[in-house]
Structure formats: structure tokens, C-alpha cells
Amino acid sequence: MTGMLDSAANNSIVAVAATGLGKHFTVGQRQITALESITLSIRAGVVSALIGPDGAGKTTLLRLLAGLLVPDHGVISVFGLDPVTQPDAVHCITGYMPQRFGLYEDLTVQENLDLYADLHGVPSRLRPARFHELLEMTKLSAFQGRLAGKLSGGMKQKLGLACTLVAQPRLLLLDEPTVGVDPVSRRELWLIIERMVATGTTVLMSTAYLDEAERCHEIFMLHAGKLLRQGAPGADHSILAGRCFEIHGAESFTRRLQSRLAERPNIVDAVIQGDTVRVVTARPQTPKLDDLAAEFPSLSVTPVPPRFEDGFIALLKPLVEQVNLGSALSPSTEAVDREDVVIEVREVERWFGDFHAVKRISFDVKRGEVFGLLGANGAGKTTTFRMLCGLLPPSRGQLRVTGVDLRSAAAKARRRIGYMSQKFSLYGALSVRQNLEFFASAYRLDSRLRRIRLDWALERFQLTTYAESSSGDLPLGHKQRLALACALLHEPEILFLDEPTSGVDPLMRRAFWSAINALAEQGVTVLVTTHFMEEAEYCDRLVIMAAGSLLAAGRPQEIRAQARSPDQPNPSLEDAFIRLLHNIAGSDVGAPQAGLKGGLQGRSPQQSEQTPS
């Protein structure tokens, strides 16, 4: 995909120039350096990406460029304008989409558009055409009259983008525009961005998705407030030459193989990719796997060309303190019966008024399984999730977790589950330590264990430096870490994770998953939703939901097999996912995208519950 925007890139006018940019914040007693002597220039007419681990300073940089913050040092120029002294002029030519999209959830799609058109002074004679164009582009035409709060997450992001686009900004600043967005909506968002670039707009976006960064023309990698690297995505593939391999033949034990490989010091990175494990070695030499022969008799190693993500990991891994969540539990002595069914869903239905959110679904999860719940935004995943946790009663059907219905179960039964919700839902006013202490006491850990687990959480999740900061002020990725830490404190038997890795940087995501793997190895049952399809590969089994029904169920290989076709002999899970959604669409309306709407059509109750307006 690299270079697809090359035609536009010939333009070498500088859109944004920053020199010696520095910004500090005071949090409590501490001075935090968010950015330090950043000098960069962003070319006009192309998409540039801002990447880096959590807390690298991406959001701060975007806010500085948008004139929302004043730098401590340095000068910024946005098309020759200074955001500090000429904020209004800068606001007139830039569109900025914050992480929380800035939509008024109690206004309709059309009303939001009207508002932003008014705010940007778009003359009324130009509006009908512009709105039509934007609604077509975002495929929101059918939802003009719907409240923004009742849209699915993906549609909200698209609307947020449309709102920033009403005035045809010359510079578009997007802060993590694809967080929490399903793969289909993500593709659509990208189509919009590319169309904007085609009309001459300059785009700068921060993202946690490296495959997205790879599509950008230029990449700025930040780490701890410093600019680490700047250039085209493929620029440093040379240092990775001969270091990337695919290992085949682990069959149904890919996950175990991956975790074995990830532990090795000479391997920088190991990720599951379909049936294979992809590794990056520390030095250019083929990994030796003889010692694994006993466990995995038929392994074979194939060299593969490096890709952008490898470079990111290889570059950052030595810099970032090693995150190892490995043994999240104290070793257990009990043998695990992996045939034991711990989660039982039988013919469960859920109505919200006359909206059928979940349609008679059934599935089982066995002990020690990592079970994935996938689906587009608004497919009914979160509703199912909340029913399982006892937060929402089903309209019909039965849900059992370790043989009991959590809704009516004694408090003791809830002691055995850990829950991490989609939206950050810890106490923002409390410090990191206070949050941990609270959940430790909520799960009745005795004081000795509490101390041990607290130290474990702070250390393993690298939160020690933030221990006394208010958790509400943490960067997104750190919030997610804290939330997972809180869910794991009491070593639950069953873990419910609703999009645990959204907004988390790739390094931490790997650590999350290795922790989840390790937990599963120890017999913990994990029910997880995610929008990262490559992460779904880590699941033992998964179901794909669409419009409240189960579309497919099975092991990742089986689901991939369903999408196999002559033109796609080895589809990824993401390909399979999109194909499956298109298939139901085909039977529904005919056009692939129209079918997608079918999947998203109903008002999305989980969204509206979380953000009451």
C-alpha cells in the first residue's frame, strides 16, 4: 500500500513547520515534559502520521498545531500563520478532530453538520452541495435525522470527520481517528481521508495502528516527547534485512509457539499471523528452533520481507522499558479441566424497545479458553457482554457463568470474574494507586496480598511513575493499562475484556496479549472483544456478530477458511471478517456497503447507554 499517494506527494510545499518546540505540564507536584525541542516540517498535500508509544506527546503536538495550547519554547507556522498569535486565522484553515470527536451527542447528524458549517462560516448557498458530498462520502445520508449519540462508534468517527471537513480545511489534524472503529468503518474513514488529500488537503493524524501509518506518506515517530524518526515508512527497512521470518507448522498450537518464541532474547518480536508466527530477530540470522522440536515436530522457517511494524518494534523495543506482564497470576496448583464449560449462552435475546439488539444467540466457552467476540460497531457485542456480566438482564434466554447467573448471583460469584469495560471507567479523580487500592479492597484481598498485587501492578504495567497522578489525566494507553491492571488484581478465574487494547500502542498491545495468553495457559477463561483483527488470531475460538446474530463461529483457522476463494487463497482474519459482512449484505440489499448499514442500522444501545445525553 505504500506509495499509493505518491502522485500527490510531488508537491513539496511545507504546510506545517515547527522549530524547537517544547511543552511542559505540571501534574500535582511534578513537571512533565510532554515535548522537547521538536523540529519538523510537514509537507502539504500528503498524509503524515504521528506515531509513538503511549504518552509520547502525540496529542500535545496536535493541540499545539491547532492553537489549543501555547508552547513553552519554539515557533510553529501553519501555512505561514502562527497559531499562538493568530489563532483565529489558523482555526479558519484547519480542521481538528479531538480524540473524543467533539460531537454534540444530543444533536442529529444534520444538526451537527449545520453547527460546524455555521461555526466555520460556510455560506448557505454552498452548503447543500457540500453536505450532500460529505454525507455520501461518510455513507451517513440515511441517518441524517439520527442523534449523534445513538450512532455506532464507527459512524460517530465518520461524522466527526465530516464535521471537521465542512469548511474544506487546508490542514486536517486528526487525533487517533480510528480508535474503537471496526475494520469496515476504518476502511471507509481511510477512503474519505484519501479523497481529501486528492483535493489538496494536508492531513496529519496520530494513530496506534501501524498498518495505517504504513499507508501515510511520511511518518513522525515520537518517544518521550522527542522526535525519534521522521521519513517515509519504508525508509529503514534496510536495517531489518534478513531479520524477518515466518515460522510454519505449529498447527493448532500457534499461540503456544508464539509465546515460546517471544520469550527468547534473540527474538525482538513474535506475532501470530494466520497459521504462522512471524518473528523479527535481533541480528540477521535464521532463528534456531531445534530445542522446540520435541514440542513442535514440523516447524519450518521462511524468510519474509520486512514491513513497517517490524521497524517500529525494532526501533522502539530497546528504548522502552521492557513490559512483561507474563505471570499475571500466582502459580496455581489445581489441575485445569479444559473441557469444563464455564460460560453458557442459550438462546439469548435482548430488545431495547422495538429494537432487536441481540437475536437468539447461543455459544459456550470452556475453561482456559481465549474466546473472541467480534463484530462491527453496533453488532450487539457490548450488549452481550453486559448481559454476561449481569449488568443487563436478557429479554429471553439463559446466561450462565460458572453455572450461575451473575445478575442474581451472590457477591461471591462476582469475586471470580474480572471486568474491563470499553470506555475508561475507573475513577478519574483518584490517583492510579488509589484506584488500585480501591479495587484490591473491592475484591477483598487481605493486606499482605494487596501489597504484593499492588506492587505487581504498578511495576508490571509500568505505572510506578504515574502512581500518584490522577488517573483521569493519564494518556489513553496508560488508562487502558490501569484498567487491565485493576481487572487482574484479584486473579480472576474469568476475565471479561471489552476492547482492552483500543488506543494502546503496539508494544503494550503485545504485552497485553502475552499476559492474556499466559492467563489462559494457567486456566483463566478470557472473553474478549477487539477491533484489531490480527489480535483475534490469538483467540482459541471466536464468534463474529452482525446485527445481533452470530454470523460465524469457530477457530480462527476455520473462519479464515470460510473466506478462502480463488483470488484470495490465504485470507487474513480481517479479509474474512469483511467478506462475511459483505455476504450478509448481499442477501440483504445487494450493494456491499448498503448491507453494512443493515448491520449498523439499529440504534446502538450500548453507545447510548454509555453516553446518556
Binding site: 456480566c389 445478575r407 462476582r414 471486568y419 471507567s425 487500592e437 480501591f438 473491592a442 475484591y443 446518556p612
Partner: protein
């Protein structure tokens, strides 16, 4: 359980502004209201319109202007001058002594004076007339004695029990104990569940092993404790700063405070668990606080209200608490009467807390 409490307190007090709101304004308000809320007249502006030239009228005027309740703001020399003082609120009342005053008195004919009062605040007007009446009665008595006139065949000997000087601070300041305790407790509880709902933390709380009862206690106790601390402080201020007597039983008062605070926290939590947004919680809090204070008998006696409104006051915990706090501080009220105040508050507390706990789980979808 302790962890839950600690969390609630931290969520409440970690924010500097929130901490200040709970401590600063109630203290200032206690001091200001303690002095401001009084029906006693003090230095009320009075204008004199004297057409008489005798000494009797001067003596009478001296009695008025010398009284603590009044402050002379001017002399009027013609009829139209009265409006010039009353209309722009320069004087609350005008004492008009007619031309015939001294002559009538010396002839032992009933003399008369006229008092013109600004009725825009008719309560103040009545109180002012009352004061004037008392001053005049004093004048009459002295005059009768001086002139050796026939003494009246019977005389009133009025004594006020519990508050011999009829100092209305003694009535109002204990009332402020109730007022501020009510407001602070509502402040702590009325938005707390709604806030957790809006921020999504309530779900997180519900999946922990806490039972609804524990969550309820965790939510209610900070309100109860803060209410207890503030009310204790205000009682101490009332006794040592405002010198309101305390003749009753401390234990009886504290039983009342605890029940009152629990009932108020219950109402606050009920409002909070019914509300989906904090704005609704705030509206609910006001819809409870405002009538509570007006209908509790804090400033205007419940007995003066129409029957239906009196029935409505039975739902207001503050109504019962005011009887207790005033009764215990000023008159060592008997236990039988106290128990009539205790149980309704206990019932209100029990019902509202129960409803709140029930709503915790219902209000999720």
C-alpha cells in the same frame, strides 16, 4: 467496605474545588445567616412628624427614638412628607403626632397618635407595629402613674418561657443547624450515583463482589459522616459563638442528627439513582431542598399553613429535626414528644435508601 468508603471520600475530597465547596461556604453562611436571619427589629428607620409642641409629645418621641429597634432618620413638617419617606424606603414607619395631642392629654381625653407603616413587607410592618405598641404601653403606664390616674383593674404579666428575651437568634440559629446539614448532605449524595453512571464507573462497581447493600452504605456513609461533622460543628458554634443555650440532652440531639442525616442522605441517593444525568440530579436536589426549607417551619410556622400543605410537610425530614434541635437546645423537650419526631425520619430514611438500592440495578437499561 473500608476501601469503598475510602474511595467515596477520595472522589469527593480529592478535587480542591469540591473540598472547598463542602467546607468554606457552609462556614461563611453559618456566620452570615446566624446574624442575618432574624425577625427582631434592630435600628429600623423611623421618621417623625410632630405637629404638637407639648412636652408629652417630646417624651413619647424620645421613647421611640431611644429604643434599640428604631433609628430616627428625619423629621417631617407636612403631610406630603410622609410619602417622601415611605415610598423610597427611606423610613419603614412614620410616627405622626397630631396638633391636639398635648391638649387632649392634659384634658384627660384619649389622645391619639398615628403610625404609618410601609406594608411592602407586611411581616416586618406587623412586627414594627408590635414594637410600637409595646413602647406606647410603657408610655401609658408611666403617664398613668405620674398623673395619678386610675390604675387599670387588671394588668397583663407576660413571660416568655424558654426564651425570656424573645431573642429570635435562639430560634433561627438551631434552625440553621438543620438547614446547612441538609444542604451539605444533599451536596454529597445527590449527584454521586448520577456522576458514576455518566462516567461508566457504576458498571465497574456492580461487577465487583460488593452487594447493593454495601454499595448503598458506601454511598450513604460519606454523606452521613460529613453531615454529622458539620452539624456538630454548627451546634458548637451555636452554643459558644451565638450563645444559644443548650438545656437538653446531648444524646437525644445526636439521635436526632443521625436519623436526620440518614434520611437526607437517603433522599439524596434516591434522587441520584433516579437521575440519568447530573443535571437531572441537580434539578432533583433543588426540588427537594427548596420546599424543605420553606415548609419545614424554619422561618414560618407550620401551624400557619393550610391543611393540605401541612400534610405535605410530613414528608420533610427537616420538619422533624427542627423540632428536635430547638426542643433539645432550648427547652429539654420530653422524650415522648421526641419519639414522635424520631420515627418518621427513620421511616423516610429506610424507604428512600431501600428505593435507592433497588434502583441501582433496575436503572441500568
Amino acid at each position: 467496605m473500608l476501601g469503598l468508603l475510602k474511595k467515596e471520600f477520595l472522589a469527593l475530597l480529592r478535587d480542591k474545588k469540591s473540598r472547598f465547596v463542602l467546607i468554606g461556604p457552609p462556614l461563611i453562611q453559618l456566620l452570615v445567616f446566624g446574624y442575618a436571619a432574624t425577625f427582631d427589629l434592630n435600628r429600623v428607620p423611623i421618621a417623625i412628624y410632630n405637629e404638637d409642641s407639648g412636652s408629652a409629645s417630646r417624651e413619647l418621641i424620645a421613647r421611640f427614638t431611644g429604643a434599640k429597634a428604631f433609628r430616627e432618620v428625619g423629621r417631617i413638617t407636612r403631610q406630603s412628607g410622609i410619602a417622601e419617606f415611605i415610598n423610597p424606603k427611606k423610613a419603614l414607619l412614620v410616627l405622626h403626632i397630631g396638633r391636639e395631642f398635648s391638649r387632649d392629654l392634659s384634658k384627660r381625653k384619649p389622645a391619639s397618635i398615628q403610625l404609618i407603616v410601609d406594608g411592602r413587607n407586611s411581616n416586618t410592618a406587623l412586627i414594627a407595629l408590635n414594637y410600637a405598641q409595646t413602647i406606647l404601653a410603657g408610655f401609658n403606664r408611666t403617664w398613668t402613674e405620674q398623673q395619678r390616674l386610675a390604675i387599670p383593674p387588671a394588668r397583663l404579666e407576660i413571660r416568655a418561657w424558654f426564651n425570656p428575651n424573645l431573642n429570635s437568634q435562639w430560634f433561627i440559629v438551631p434552625g440553621i443547624v438543620g438547614l446547612l446539614t441538609l444542604v451539605v448532605t444533599m451536596l454529597v449524595t445527590a449527584l454521586s450515583v448520577a456522576r458514576e453512571r455518566e462516567q461508566g464507573t457504576f458498571d465497574q462497581l456492580l461487577v465487583t463482589p460488593f452487594t447493593p447493600l454495601e454499595i448503598l452504605i458506601g454511598k450513604a456513609l460519606p454523606g452521613v459522616l460529613i453531615g454529622l461533622v458539620e452539624s456538630s460543628f454548627i451546634v458548637l458554634m451555636a452554643v459558644y459563638w451565638f450563645h444559644v443555650p443548650f438545656v437538653g440532652d446531648v444524646a437525644a440531639l445526636y439521635l436526632g442528627i443521625v436519623l436526620f442525616v440518614v434520611a437526607t442522605a437517603g433522599v439524596g441517593l434516591m434522587i441520584s439513582s433516579l437521575a440519568t444525568t447530573q443535571q437531572q440530579g441537580l434539578l432533583g436536589a433543588f426540588l427537594f431542598i427548596v420546599p424543605s426549607i420553606i415548609l419545614s417551619g424554619f422561618a414560618t410556622p407550620i401551624a400557619n399553613m393550610p391543611e393540605t400543605v401541612q400534610t405535605l410537610t410530613l414528608l420533610i425530614p427537616l420538619r422533624y429535626f427542627l423540632v428536635i434541635v430547638r426542643g433539645v437546645m432550648l427547652e429539654s423537650i420530653p422524650l415522648s414528644l421526641l419519639s414522635d419526631q424520631y420515627w418518621p425520619m427513620a421511616v423516610i430514611g429506610f424507604a428512600t435508601l431501600g428505593l435507592a438500592a433497588w434502583m441501582f440495578r433496575r436503572r441500568l437499561y
